[in-house]
């Protein structure tokens, strides 16, 4: 049930000439079945900033690979195409939107930190709960609030009102957005992810991370991002604009099948990794 407004916004992102063609090329290429690894890494390398950032992320303590991947081709081989898609999207959106004069009330740097914090927490939760692909959860965490960036860049004024409203009423951003914009960042973000042919899993993590509706899908990956987000806000790792901690959906906790006493371990480990990931906090 995508609103027309969202569609318009998403389409306009794609059409903006200020967007380097890398995104279009890559998006197209990744949907082609026989795209070679070399071709993909070449295209990404055409934008050195993106390439560098992707490499930094996969090499950071946050990601969990610790400084092993030397070049993009290697990254593509090791991580697989889906992962690369996720990471390229995350970094390109940040890069592009950063260059816009986003709303002054919205601190991009803090937002990026919040995304990384959530990514780390979600990944550590996923590892502790023995999920199969913690890296996917990492990128899900990294991208979960990407819709906010779109709002900040393309719906500047309305988004400002959202931010103010959140401070005044103590409601969640999602609520405010729905009241003021007509839709929330989960919807916008997932629409964008879909347009980019990101893996269904990633799209779902973005779309359902609030777990506020009965109709929301619940998978263990989504649960990890959901709880990671709450922890991130509670621990104040960066800021995504929320002024109050979102309440954890109990079913999400149950599906992960962890003990309450595991939470402290998760928090400690994540806090440590967060501190060690300073290098990726600075988006050049």
């Amino acid at each position: 049930m995508k609103s027309k407004k969202i569609d318009r916004i998403i389409n306009s992102i794609g059409e903006l000439s200020t967007l380097p063609t890398i995104y279009m090329k890559l998006s197209h290429l990744l949907s082609v079945p026989n795209a070679s690894i070399k071709m993909i890494s070449n295209i990404i390398s055409e934008d050195p900033a993106i390439a560098a950032m992707v490499l930094k992320i996969v090499n950071s303590a946050a990601y969990g690979f610790y400084n092993k991947i030397g070049d993009l081709q290697h990254a593509v081989v090791i991580l697989g195409l889906n992962e690369i898609k996720n990471l390229v999207l995350a970094t390109s959106i940040y890069k592009v939107v950063k260059e816009f004069k986003a709303s002054s009330a919205f601190d991009m740097q803090e937002f990026w930190k919040h995304s990384i914090g959530c990514a780390i927490l979600a990944r550590v939760l996923a590892e502790t709960a023995y999920l199969k692909n913690p890296e996917n959860v990492f990128t899900g965490g990294l991208l979960h609030d990407i819709g906010k960036l779109i709002h900040a860049a393309y719906l500047r004024e309305d988004f400002n009102r959202v931010l103010v409203n959140v401070v005044e009423t103590g409601s969640q951003m999602s609520e405010s957005e729905k009241n003021i914009l007509g839709f929330d960042h989960a919807q916008t973000g997932s629409a964008l992810a879909e347009k980019w042919n990101l893996p269904r899993e990633t799209v779902n993590m973005i779309a359902h991370h609030h777990l506020s509706h009965m109709s929301d899908t619940l998978t263990r990956e989504i649960a990890a991002v959901h709880i990671g987000n709450t922890l991130c806000v509670a621990l104040r790792m960066g800021s995504g604009g929320e002024k109050r901690v979102p309440i954890v959906n109990q079913k999400a906790w149950e599906i992960l099948d962890l003990k309450l006493s595991d939470l402290e371990y998760v928090v400690q480990k994540s806090t440590k990794l967060f501190k060690e990931s300073v290098s990726i906090m600075e988006f050049e």
């Binding site: 092993k68 030397g70 090791i78 502790t128 023995y130 371990y265």
Partner: protein, 395 residues
């Protein structure tokens, strides 16, 4: 005409080259995989040959390093009470202190505990290892466990360099650790089984001694004296272990003897004596049915043979008596003389030693006696007299 023939389409040529290259790469990748599978198979068969824990660990460590490029590997085993993880061995040895420090750090961080409680290997960044050199290493903490118990943990330090294909190598390592776990579990089960068996048979053997209070503890003491002698003779571990069985069972044939003979306070009649002399053969007969105890039969059958051939049941002489028989004979005699009996009090140990020395070459094998003497000198053969609790060598 000539030119046309040799004019190959440029694109076709390029695509052929690409295909060839691809085939070459695939082929070498396949050979690689084949090679790995072979080595894995040999590894597996080496591992399943042993029940000895120490040997299993050594074999595994040596072969691990041949199969995967790692910086270091360490094995921790849970000790008997099931509480503490004890460091057993690290390779290379010079890195042992660093690895142990690393494990301490990982325990403090909770990563070690996470791996143990989940039963699944956990890979994380090294905290201590190589930190000074600036290299970033990965540490895999792999529990050695199954549903029922945790036997220990393996810690592997490795560098994820450019050539390191993470998923594959990690999975490979998991398989290798799993082999290790299985072998270890097997060895422990075998030990448990052996132990259960031993104690069952011991209970049975004890029933004989229960009837005659004067011989209580006799088997245990004979075992200890025999082990002391065997150690002086540099017997290997397995042979010494066998003495446990030999000592325990050497008089099992006495079960057939009636109380009237076993506990007679006076001298035995000829008939009674002959009855008594049958016990080695009877014992051997009893044990004959248990195939793994076959090596113990000489202890049972020949401990009353004399070096000069005047013993029983077969009157074997000199080196015709198995070394087991010759050895136990000395130990058995020593305990008999230093214990109270229904027909006489215990003799003083020094007197008994002299008696044994006197009978060198006649009743006893001189070599065994010499070894016994050495054990005596080094204090390994101690006893109280009569009913006093034996204070012998440490196990």
């Amino acid at each position: 005409m000539q030119n046309k023939q040799i004019q190959i389409d440029q694109n076709e040529f390029e695509s052929m080259v690409k295909k060839l290259r691809f085939l070459e790469e695939s082929n070498s990748a396949l050979i690689n995989i084949q090679d790995r599978l072979n080595r894995l198979n040999r590894f597996r068969s080496k591992m399943s040959l042993s029940y000895d824990v120490h040997h299993i660990i050594e074999t595994w460590l040596v072969n691990l390093r041949k199969l995967v490029k790692i910086e270091a590997c360490s094995v921790f085993l849970v000790e008997e009470s099931g509480i503490e993880f004890i460091h057993k061995i690290s390779k290379p040895e010079k890195l042992s202190p660093v690895i142990q420090k690393e494990v301490e750090a990982q325990i403090s961080l909770g990563n070690f505990g996470q791996a143990i409680s989940s039963g699944v290997p956990l890979t994380t960044q090294a905290e201590v290892f190589e930190k000074e050199s600036g290299r970033i290493l990965s540490i895999m903490i792999a529990p050695l466990s199954n549903m029922e118990r945790t036997m220990g943990a393996v810690i592997i330090a490795f560098e994820e360099s450019k050539d390191f294909i993470r998923q594959q190598t990690l999975e490979f390592l998991y398989i290798l650790v799993h082999f290790f776990s299985l072998s270890l579990d097997n060895a422990y089960l075998f030990d448990d089984l052996k132990s259960a068996y031993f104690y069952t048979i011991k209970a049975f053997a004890n029933s004989i001694e229960a009837r005659d209070p004067y011989t209580r503890g006799h088997s245990e003491r004979v075992t200890r004296f025999s082990k002391a002698i065997a150690e002086e003779l540099n017997w290997d571990k397995n042979e010494i272990e066998l003495i446990e069985w030999g000592g325990m069972l050497h008089d099992v044939g006495k079960i057939g003897l009636p109380d009237s003979i076993l506990n007679k306070s006076g001298k035995l009649t000829d008939d009674e004596y002959n009855h008594m002399k049958a016990h080695p053969l009877i014992g051997a007969q009893i044990i004959k049915g248990i195939s793994f105890l076959k090596p113990v039969i000489p202890y049972i059958c020949e401990h009353h043979e004399r070096f000069d051939g005047k013993g029983y049941p077969k009157g074997l002489a000199g080196k015709n008596i198995s070394i087991k028989g010759r050895l136990l004979a000395v130990a058995d005699a020593f305990d008999a003389m230093t214990s109270d009996r229904i027909y006489r009090k215990a003799l003083k140990p020094e007197a008994v030693l002299n008696e044994i020395l006197k009978n060198r070459g006649t009743q006893f094998d001189p070599e065994i006696v010499r070894a016994f003497e050495r054990a005596w000198m080094s204090g390994k053969v101690k006893c109280g007299s009569g009913d006093q609790e034996f204070k012998g060598l440490e196990d």
